[in-house]
């Protein structure tokens, strides 16, 4: 046991790095006065931030940032429903913002405190999940599309239909809402349909077109693709993007289909009953600074909504010009969000997805 304590001490020594003199990221951003010695409690995924984002903020404002980790957006909802244990900001997906907002679990942002909101592109603001950005500011965005091995498939893919018709090995994504929205789009229905008959039709479409499916991947379709186990995967853009960077190969491609690409936003939200809402808004303004938001995107490889950062060329060019990030106007105008649906509809989706899995034997 003594050995354990010794190890714990050793690790905590390593954990403390020498105090920095200058920020790691060169930035003009200055912290409003009067926050010295205060604390901000950030709630986020484990590595969903830039390498020096936290330490630079601590240095610029003279504050302490307590960075806490969660492992699913639903956990944020669960904890907030119990009563905020003391977090100021969190980083959930769009429809989670909607749920928290409609349940009154978020505090209101005064956009006058966040001048850097001007750096965000118009198209990323005032989204249906938070119409006036009263509770959230955009952090990163992402897409769900098709990752594929062009050597194995033999031609370029531009549509969801090709994935179902192709004579190759396909992996679906184990996400009922994403999979049904694809089938609903192909059938010409609303991708966020709440109609039982439309959901049933989508279910039948998936079952009838499942002959080329070899796996329903939880979140590892990208690695199956990289290992050559499959030729096409329905996957998150960020995951496929990382594999492409990692293997530095020409054959792996990622595409957002012409019709019905799925888009998602991660926002920074101001949690209700947080201990320090003023500093939380300073933090939001800091994140939206072009250099800072660019450094985050360059680390986590999720596209940025910060158009100023893009214009100033702060994003790694190779990433910014990849197909996961640069969407043509046509593709972009045909993307949609997966939105909150009624709990009955949620149940239809879950049940129908179970039927698909059972009948396809995957």
């Amino acid at each position: 046991m003594r050995v354990f304590v010794l190890i714990a001490m050793l690790f905590s020594v390593f954990g403390i790095t020498a105090a920095q003199e200058t920020t790691a990221i060169d930035t003009d951003w200055t912290c409003p006065a009067g926050f010295e010695g205060q604390q901000l409690n950030v709630f986020n995924w484990a590595t969903y931030i830039g390498d020096s984002t936290v330490s630079d903020f601590e240095l610029l404002c003279g504050v302490t940032v307590e960075y806490n980790v969660y492992d699913s957006d639903d956990m944020v909802i669960t904890l907030m429903r119990q009563g905020n244990p003391g977090y100021d900001v969190a980083f959930p997906t769009d429809y989670i913002v909607d749920i928290l907002r409609s349940e009154g679990l978020l505090a209101e942002i005064d956009l006058a405190n966040i001048p850097n909101i001007a750096n965000i592109g118009e198209q990323y603001l005032n989204q249906p999940f938070d119409p006036e950005n009263k509770h959230s500011v955009p952090y990163v965005w992402g897409t769900t599309g098709i990752g594929y091995d062009i050597d194995a498939v033999g031609y370029e893919i531009t549509d969801w239909v090709q994935l179902f018709e192709c004579e190759c090995r396909v992996a679906w994504l184990d996400s009922p809402r994403a999979m049904f929205s694809i089938a609903l789009t192909i059938l010409g229905y609303d991708p966020n349909s709440e109609s039982p008959s439309e959901i049933a039709a989508a279910r039948d479409y998936l079952i009838e077109n499942s002959s080329n499916v070899v796996a329903i991947a939880a979140d590892d379709g990208d690695s199956l693709l990289a290992q050559g186990e499959i030729d096409i995967a329905i996957e998150y853009g960020g995951d496929v993007g990382q594999q492409i960077v990692d293997c530095a190969c020409e054959n792996l491609k990622y595409v957002v289909p012409n019709l019905g690409g799925i888009i998602d936003y991660t926002s920074i939200i101001l949690l209700g009953d947080g201990p320090n809402p003023a500093l939380a808004q300073v933090w939001m303004d800091y994140i939206l600074e072009p250099e800072i938001q660019a450094s985050i995107t360059n680390t986590i490889l999720y596209p940025t909504p910060n158009v100023v950062a893009i214009e100033e060329g702060l994003i790694d060019a190779e990433f910014q010009n990849s197909s996961a990030v640069t969407l043509s106007d046509e593709v972009a105008s045909n993307t949609f969000f997966i939105t909150k649906v009624s709990s009955e509809a949620e149940q239809y989706y879950t049940d129908a997805w179970d039927e698909v899995k059972i009948l396809t034997g995957l």
Binding site: M1, V3, F4, V5, I7, A8, F11, S12, F14, G15, T17, N41, N44, W45, A46, T47, Y48, I49, G50, D51, S52, T53, V54, S55, E66, Y67, N68, V69, Y70, D71, S72, M75, T78, L79, Q82, G83, P85, G86, Y87, D219, D220, S223, A226, Q227, G238, D239, Q242, Q243, V245, D246, C247, I300
Partner: protein, 312 residues
């Protein structure tokens, strides 16, 4: 009936085999022999192959943990930044802090649960309380009820306590290390008590009576006789408790507060981006340390059981 006894002999009694003409029993015996060899090989393979892969992939020169892209030591360098060179990345710092939190929670809750669990086991074994049978069975409840039920009930319980204290004193408590540790102690008591209980059941009560006869008082009997005899049970129980505490995700998460991110929560939190081989590297280091500790405790136990006055 006779058949069953015979086939049991085949498996257990290997010294009995003599050259005999081929009988149906021989076939069973041979299958049994082969099975005896194969079963442990497969068991050990399934036990150790994933762990071996984990260790191998901690040297993977890639951001992913599933595709091998060459050998590197950089994940270990990240962890030992400062002593091995290389700079500490934010995620590394976070991970190492999370490990520190896990160890704090694990060690404290194990220490408390071991003491309380042992006391409970002793009192249940020795006392003649009315309803002892029921108490005995309730002990197994935390072992069998789902973790999520326990987590939510604890969270509600703490909220009620905070409300009560808030109403009576005006001070509002917040969840943190204390609530996590209490939660872990709550389920670990059962595990320790059950293991110690089993050890106590095997103990010869006459040894304690003999000590009393020879003039030892109750305290001396406990320290010199009972404690050394049940010590392997206590050690086993506390190691089990430590492991469960370090593994726990659900109870920890529901009762956590500011600055209490533990390693399991951190690793699950990596899902959004990707689990890097850095986690493998840390796991490998933990594996080495825990192997050393378990080896050390086995050595101590062996040494003590060689002494004449203890029974293993």
């Amino acid at each position: 009936m006779g058949n069953r006894i015979m086939s049991r002999n085949v498996v257990t009694d290997t010294t009995f085999s003599q050259p005999q003409p081929m009988r149906p029993g021989m076939v069973v015996r041979n299958v049994g022999k082969v099975g005896l060899v194969i079963a442990p090989i497969f068991s050990y393979f399934f036990l150790w192959a994933p762990i071996l892969l984990l260790v191998i992939f901690s040297f993977n020169d890639s951001r992913g943990v599933d595709t091998w892209r060459g050998f590197t030591l950089r994940w270990y360098q990240n962890i030992f930044a400062g002593t091995m060179g290389g700079e500490a990345r934010f995620s590394t710092e976070l991970m190492v802090n999370a490990l520190g939190n896990t160890l704090i929670v694990g060690l404290i809750s194990t220490a408390i649960a071991t003491v309380i669990g042992t006391m409970v086991a002793l009192s249940l074994a020795r006392s003649n309380l009315p309803g002892k049978k029921i108490l005995d069975n309730i002990m197994y409840l935390p072992v069998v009820i789902p973790e999520i039920t326990q987590a939510v009930s604890l969270a509600i319980f703490f909220n009620l306590v905070f409300d009560f204290v808030d109403n009576s004193t005006g001070v509002r408590g917040t969840p943190g290390f204390a609530t996590i540790i209490i939660g872990h102690v709550a389920f670990n008591i059962s595990y320790v008590a059950i293991v110690v209980r089993a050890r106590l059941a095997n103990m010869n009560p006459r040894l304690e009576e003999a000590a009393n006869d020879l003039g030892a008082n109750t305290w001396q009997t406990f320290i010199r006789i009972t404690l050394p005899l049940i010590l392997p049970g206590i050690v086993a129980g506390s190691l089990l408790a430590l492991t469960l505490s370090m593994d726990d995700l659900v109870i920890t998460f529901f009762n956590s507060g500011i600055g209490t991110t533990t390693l399991p929560v951190f690793v699950y939190g990596l899902i959004k981006t990707s689990v890097t081989p850095e986690v493998n590297a840390l796991s490998t280091l933990m594996l080495i340390f825990s192997t050393v500790i378990v080896g050390f405790s086995l050595y101590l136990q062996n040494r003590s059981s060689e002494r004449p006055h203890t029974r293993s």
